[in-house]
Symmetry: C2
């Protein structure tokens, strides 16, 4: 699944490369217009005027197609199991080190920043991202975590990672831009670990509960 | 400084209300085009074709003018001293309760959401927000906190609050949208408190430091 962004690089014939680009264009349009859940491989293939089997051949799954079409720099299916596998102890630190490493690697061409800009500006993009994230990330983390309320805990972690990207890379707030990675790990690792394993009251389900 | 949003409501004469609106329009344009630091009351007054004294009369300070022009729902000059005054103990919980209370009060017409959308979409808005926030919020919190690296600590807190608004209100991630305020306080208060008073290594200033 390497070099999914540019078919040309791998020396494919122009016809195949053209189909690949047509599929990616159709996927981007359909994911944006209909959201992640409602967009089907079959409909995307019809828009691109190719056989659905070709979409599966190129991209394997809807999730991979989404990642390629939206230029996601990571594949949650590959990354999350590795992060979660050693167990929930130390997962907070593994998470923040993973993201800081990824941001360093991506530099100024960080597609996560582009994605957040688009999500903030367009409700369609927000829905698409929400649906994809719920399925590809929250469900996958939840499946690997032996804790109460795993989806909420994963969402709490995400709220901090998104906030770090927004304040450090979109807003460019000086103390965060200048901070060493090790300082950021000292700050964020225990907070994420608290979200993952700290005490969390069960949601209230009673009527007329006080305060 | 109440009802700064609508001069008409307080029964001002149309001429005065007209000047007030002209000042707010000029302020919005100039803050956006030149940033918070470079926009002067004098230049805004000139754009609005009024005397600078009238700007001071209506808005008191550049910070208040900014808050009114950008429809900020809170005035940092009024709010931060109250939050910080009881001391740094418990400040994490006071901060998250303040923001959750504010979001409940503002409901769907939350101007912080509108501001973040604009910041994410436009570099000009990001610069304006960065400059305003650094002066009106970071410096003010830093002045009230007896801790190391107060600006960084305030920025860490901000990264979480911004991330909560983004994931809960812009992206609309279900587990956070549905979560009770008390569940969110249990999660976020200790994290913010850790940012404010937890151990934080001093930034590296040596050359050739290892890892």
């Amino acid at each position: 699944m390497a070099s999914t962004r540019s078919g040309r690089r791998s020396g494919r014939r122009p016809g195949e490369s053209g189909s690949r680009e047509a599929i990616l264009d159709a996927a981007r349009s359909r994911f944006t217009a209909h959201g992640y859940d409602a967009a089907t491989i079959r409909a995307i293939a019809a828009d691109a005027e190719v056989d659905p089997a070709l979409v599966h051949h190129f991209f394997g799954s809807k999730e991979h197609l989404f990642a390629a079409a939206l230029h996601l720099p990571v594949d949650p299916a590959a990354v999350i199991p590795d992060l979660v596998a050693p167990g929930v102890d130390g997962l907070g630190e593994r998470l923040i080190r993973f993201f800081l490493g990824l941001f360093d690697e991506l530099g100024t061409a960080n597609p996560i920043v582009a994605l957040l800009r688009s999500v903030a500006a367009h409700e369609d993009a927000a829905r698409m991202f929400r649906e994809f994230y719920s399925q590809a990330v929250l469900e996958r983390i939840a499946a690997g975590l032996d804790v109460s309320q795993p989806r909420l805990r994963a969402a709490l972690c995400m709220s901090q990672v998104v906030g770090l990207v927004m304040t450090r890379q979109v807003i460019g707030l000086e103390p965060l831009v200048r901070a060493d990675d090790e300082v950021l790990v000292s700050a964020y690792a225990p907070a994420l670990q608290h979200y993952l394993t700290g005490p969390l009251p069960e949601p209230t389900r009673r009527f007329g509960a006080t305060s």
